[in-house]
Symmetry: C2
Subunit: 536 residues, 2 copies
C-alpha cells in the first residue's frame, strides 16, 4: 500500500483546488494572470527543471524575490521535491543575508535581478557551491556569469506532467531566519506535516465564521506580509488549498497596493500594524473604497488608534497572534463577535486559542497564573505546528522549549472566558517601583490621540524607581497633540484602566521610529538612542 494516500504533504494541498476549481485565477501586480490549472502545470515544470539541475530530495533552495506568483510556485515545487525552501529575508543587511545563506547550507539560490546588487558581491564568501537561478520580469534579462539559467526559460524547456516523489510527512519543507535584537539570526524549520496541519487549523478557525467574516471560498486574497516572513504567515498555502482568487502584489508601494486592492476587489489580507498605518496614511487611501476588506493584524499588537482608523474606512479589522516559531497562527480575535459588535477591545484583544492550540499563562515555575484578566505571566503554548528546534542551535532550542512548553517570550494575562491579552515582550517589559507597566497598553492609548502616527513605550533607567516609562512618538501636528496624549492617559487613570505610576514622565517627539526588518518597533534600538542622547 503506497504511503501517498496517508502522509500529510504539501502536494496534497494542491489537489483539492486543481480538482474543484481549475479555472480560478492567480494575479501578479503587473496585470499577469494564470489559472490554477496553469499553476499546477508550472509547478510540475519547476519540479522537472530543478531535478534536471540536480536539485531534489535533501537539497536546500533559497529564494530572494518580491511577492510574486512565481514565489508561490516555489512554495509548492521545492518542498514537493523533498527539498527545503529557504525564504531569504531580503530586508536584512548583506552580512546577515550572507550568514543565513551559509548557515542554511543552500544548494541553490533563486534571485530576482533587483537583488543581484546584494547577492553578487557576497558570492565569493558563500561557502557551499550553489546553483544560481535568475528571476526576472523581463523576457530578455541577461544571465549574470555563473548563473545556471533564468526561471521562465528553464520552465519553458520542460514538458508537462512531472511526477513528484512520495515523501514522508516529517520531511523538512521550509526554513527561514528569525532575527532577534541580539545574537545571530536563528534558523526556524517546518515539516510538511506541520504546514498541512497549520493550513487545516487556520481553515478551521476562519472558515466556519458566520456571515461575511473569516475566509470563504469566494474571498479574494492578497498578502501584505512578505512571502519571506514566516511564509507569509502560512496564508498562501491556505488560499491555494481553498482555491481562492489570489493577487501577489510585488513590491510594497502604498499607491500600488491600494490600486490592486481596489482593482481586484481584494477581500482578505494580513499585515503588521505599521504597513496598514502606511497604507491608510497614503494620499490615495482617501479615494479608495476599502469597505469590502477584511484584515488580520499580527506581528505586533493592534493599537486601538489604528483599529479605529480602519473601522472608519469600513475595514473588518481584527488581531491575530503568533510568532516565527509558531508557524505562526496560535491565537485569533473573535471574528464572529467582532462582525456584529463595535467593541474595539474585542478586535484588538489578542483573542482566543486557535483550534488544536493550547495556550497557558504561567509563572517562572510553569504554574498557571489565575485567569482573572489581570494577573500577568509568560505565554507558553503547545500545538501540532510549532517548530521543533532552531537549526543547529541546541542552546536556543533548550531555552525555547524549557519544561516541554514553547516559550513565546510574551507577557500577558487571560480572562475567565479564555481571552488572552499580550501586554509586553518579556525583554521589553518596563518595571517601575517593582510593578510592571504595560508598554502595549500605553501605546494603544496614545495611538487614539488624533495626529499620533507612531508611538513606542520603553523603559529608561531611573535611580528611584528602577525604570520609568517614556513615550517616543511620531506626531503630525503641533504640541497640542502631546497634550491630548497626556489627557487620554490621565482619563484612563481616572477610569481605573491604568495605574497612576504608569503614566510616562516624558513624551519624546522624533521624526521616525526605528523598525526591525519585518516592520516591528525596534525597542532595543530606541532604548539605545535614548541612553546615548541621540533622541530625548
Amino acid at each position: 500500500m503506497s504511503a501517498a494516500g496517508f502522509e500529510l504533504t504539501i502536494g496534497q494541498l494542491l489537489r483539492a483546488p486543481a480538482q474543484r476549481n481549475p479555472d480560478q485565477t492567480i494575479h501578479d501586480g503587473e496585470g499577469g494572470v494564470r489559472t490554477y490549472r496553469q499553476l499546477h502545470a508550472r509547478i510540475d515544470q519547476l519540479g522537472a527543471a530543478l531535478t534536471r539541475l540536480g536539485l531534489g530530495r535533501g537539497a536546500t533552495i533559497a529564494v530572494m524575490d518580491w511577492d510574486t506568483p512565481r514565489y508561490l510556485e516555489c512554495y509548492f515545487a521545492v518542498p514537493m521535491l523533498g527539498a527545503t525552501l529557504h525564504t531569504v529575508n531580503i530586508r536584512l543587511s548583506p552580512e546577515q543575508i550572507l550568514y543565513t545563506i551559509n548557515h542554511a547550507e543552500d544548494d541553490a539560490i533563486l534571485c530576482h535581478e533587483d537583488f543581484l546588487p546584494i547577492l553578487l558581491p557576497l558570492l565569493p564568501r558563500i561557502t557551499r557551491p550553489a546553483t544560481l537561478i535568475l528571476l526576472s520580469d523581463r523576457p530578455d534579462a541577461p544571465l549574470p556569469p555563473g548563473f545556471a539559467g533564468e526561471f521562465e526559460r528553464l520552465l519553458a524547456a520542460e514538458a508537462p506532467g512531472f511526477t513528484f516523489p512520495d515523501l514522508t510527512e516529517d520531511t523538512r519543507a521550509t526554513l527561514f531566519y528569525t532575527t532577534g535584537t541580539t545574537g545571530d539570526p536563528k534558523g526556524v524549520t517546518y515539516s510538511h506535516r506541520q504546514l498541512v496541519l497549520h493550513t487545516l487549523g487556520v481553515v478551521a478557525a476562519f472558515g466556519p465564521v458566520p456571515g461575511r467574516g473569516g475566509i470563504k471560498t469566494d474571498d479574494v486574497y492578497m498578502p501584505i506580509t512578505p512571502l519571506f516572513h514566516v511564509h507569509a504567515w502560512g496564508y498562501p498555502f491556505v488560499a491555494t488549498f481553498l482555491g481562492l482568487k489570489q493577487v501577489y502584489p510585488g513590491r510594497y508601494e502604498p499607491a500600488r497596493l491600494l490600486s490592486l486592492l481596489s482593482g481586484h476587489r481584494v477581500t482578505y489580507s494580513h499585515c503588521v500594524p505599521t504597513i496598514l498605518a502606511m497604507l491608510l496614511a497614503a494620499p490615495e487611501a482617501a479615494g479608495t473604497d476599502l469597505s469590502h476588506w477584511k484584515v488580520t493584524i499580527g506581528g505586533a499588537a493592534l493599537p486601538e488608534g489604528l483599529a479605529l482608523q480602519a473601522r472608519a474606512k469600513g475595514i473588518d479589522i481584527h488581531a491575530g497572534y503568533g510568532m516565527s516559531e509558531t508557524c505562526p497562527i496560535i491565537c485569533l480575535a473573535d471574528m464572529a463577535a467582532s462582525q456584529t459588535s463595535d467593541d474595539i477591545k474585542l478586535r484588538t484583544a489578542t483573542g482566543k486559542a486557535a483550534p488544536l492550540v493550547t495556550l497557558r499563562v504561567v509563572d517562572p515555575d510553569l504554574r498557571d497564573v489565575p485567569h482573572d484578566g489581570r494577573t500577568t505571566g509568560e505565554v507558553v503554548v503547545r500545538a501540532p505546528w510549532l517548530t521543533h528546534d532552531y537549526l543547529r542551535n541546541d542552546a536556543g532550542t533548550a531555552e525555547l522549549w524549557a519544561g516541554g512548553w514553547m516559550h513565546t517570550g510574551d507577557v500577558g494575562h487571560m480572562a475567565p472566558d479564555g481571552t488572552l491579552r499580550i501586554t509586553d515582550r518579556l525583554k521589553d517589559v518596563i518595571k517601575s517601583g517593582g510593578e510592571w507597566v504595560s508598554s502595549l497598553a500605553l501605546e494603544s492609548l496614545a495611538s487614539t490621540a488624533p495626529g499620533v502616527r507612531e508611538v513606542a513605550a520603553v523603559g529608561v533607567p531611573d535611580d528611584r524607581w528602577g525604570e520609568r516609562p517614556v513615550l517616543v512618538t511620531v506626531i503630525d501636528g503641533d504640541d497640542a497633540v502631546e497634550n491630548t496624549i497626556r489627557a487620554r492617559l490621565e482619563r484612563a487613570v481616572a477610569a481605573g484602566e491604568l495605574p497612576k505610576w504608569a503614566v510616562p514622565d516624558r513624551v519624546v517627539r522624533v521624526t521616525a521610529i526605528p523598525k526591525t526588518s519585518v516592520g516591528k518597533l525596534d525597542k532595543k534600538r530606541i532604548r539605545q538612542m535614548l541612553a546615548s542622547g541621540e533622541i530625548g
Copy 2:
C-alpha cells in the same frame, strides 16, 4: 518534550470549544441540557469511572444506546483513555450482535435498558468476560444481576478533574461492523489521527462555503444518522470541535424528530434518503417550517424526486458520498453553487472530492477511464482517513486495498470538471445486452413521478439479454402513477438522457421495499424475492 502537543488525538478536539465557548449547550430529546463545560466535566468523570472499573488503555468498550448526549460523552472519554469505542449496531439481528461482540473481544458493554431484552439472553454465549454497565433515562432503574453499575451513578461517584493519559495518534479509537449482504459483518477501525484528520477535512469542506451554506459556528446540529453507524458520519466530532449547539434526538420517530427540528431551530442534519422521505411523509411535516434546515444526504444516492420534495419545503439539500471504510466523507455536492442554483442535478450529483481526498474512476487494471461524464468504472480512493484494514480479516483487507487504492465497490463516471456521479453498486449493476444500465439513474427518474414513495431498480436474469431491469415500487395512488413513471422514462429516452434499452420491461408494485439495518435498499433480498416469485 511531551508528546501531548504534537499528536493528533481526539482529546484535542475537545479543547477548542471548552476554551472558546464553554456555555454553549447540548440537548437530549427529553428536554435535558448540558453545557460544554458540563460535557467536559462529565467526560472527565466517565474517564475516572471506567478507570476505576479497570477499563483503560487497550480495552474495547461497547455501547448499545439511542442517540444521546451520553453517547457523545463515550465518543470522547473511551478513546481518550486509550480504549476502543465499539459502537454496536442495535438494528442487527441478535445473532449478528453476538458475533460482533465476540469478534470485537469487548471488555465492557454499556447497554441501555431498552436493549436488555436483546443483550441478556446473549450473555451466556459472550466468550470474553465483560464488565456490564447499565444506561437508563430513569434515576431509579434497577441494576440487572451481574452489572457493575449504572452510568449516572458511576459518574456521580467521581470527583471532577481526571487526567487522561498521553496517547500516540495511531492508537485505535473506534470499531464498528459493516454488514454487507453476504458473509459475516466486517470490523472497521479508526485511529485517533484518522478521526482528527477527518474532522479537519470535513470542516475544511463545510466551513468556507460562502453565504448560509455549509456549516458555521452559529449552526444548530442534530444527527439523524444513528451514532452507531460510522460514528454518525463523524459529525458529532465536527460539531463538538466547532462548539455548535447540538441536539441528540434519542429514538427516531418522525413526529418527535420534527418537533425537535422546529423547537431547537435545527439548521444542520445528515441522514440516508429513506429517513428524510419518512420525515417528509409524516403528517406533522406539513405544519413544520423546515426552510432553515440544511441536510447532507449520504449512505445511498439522493433521488431527484426526494431532492425536489425537500426543495419544495425550502430545505438546502445536497448529496455527500462515502462508506463505512472511508470514515466516511470523501465526496460532496457543490454547496456553494447549489445555494444560488436550483439545478437539482447539482444537488444530487455525487459531487467533487473532499479536501485531501484523491478520487479516481478506473478500469479493472486500475487505469483511469476518460473523464467525459459518460465512461464508467470503479471508484477508488486515497485519503488520510481511510480504514487501514478489516479487523482480523486479511482476505477482506487485501480485496479492499487491491493495488494500493481503496476499492469502493461503486461504479460511476467523472465529468471533465471533476464531478463524480455514482451509477451503481458494483454488485448491483444491471447488464443488459452487454451494456450497463444505471439502476440509480432509473430510480432517480422514477422518483420524480408524484406518488412514488420508494423505488428500486434491479436486474433479473433474461435468456436473450443476459439481464433486464425491473422497477420495484411503493406507490401512493392508482395505476396512473405507473403510467407517469413510464412517461418520464420515455421522455428521458427522447431527450437522449437514457438509452432505449434501459427502460424496464416491468414495474412491480409492493407494499414495502426491504432495507438493510442502516436503511439502505436491500437489493440482494429484492432480487431473491423476484426470483422466488414472492413479488412480481
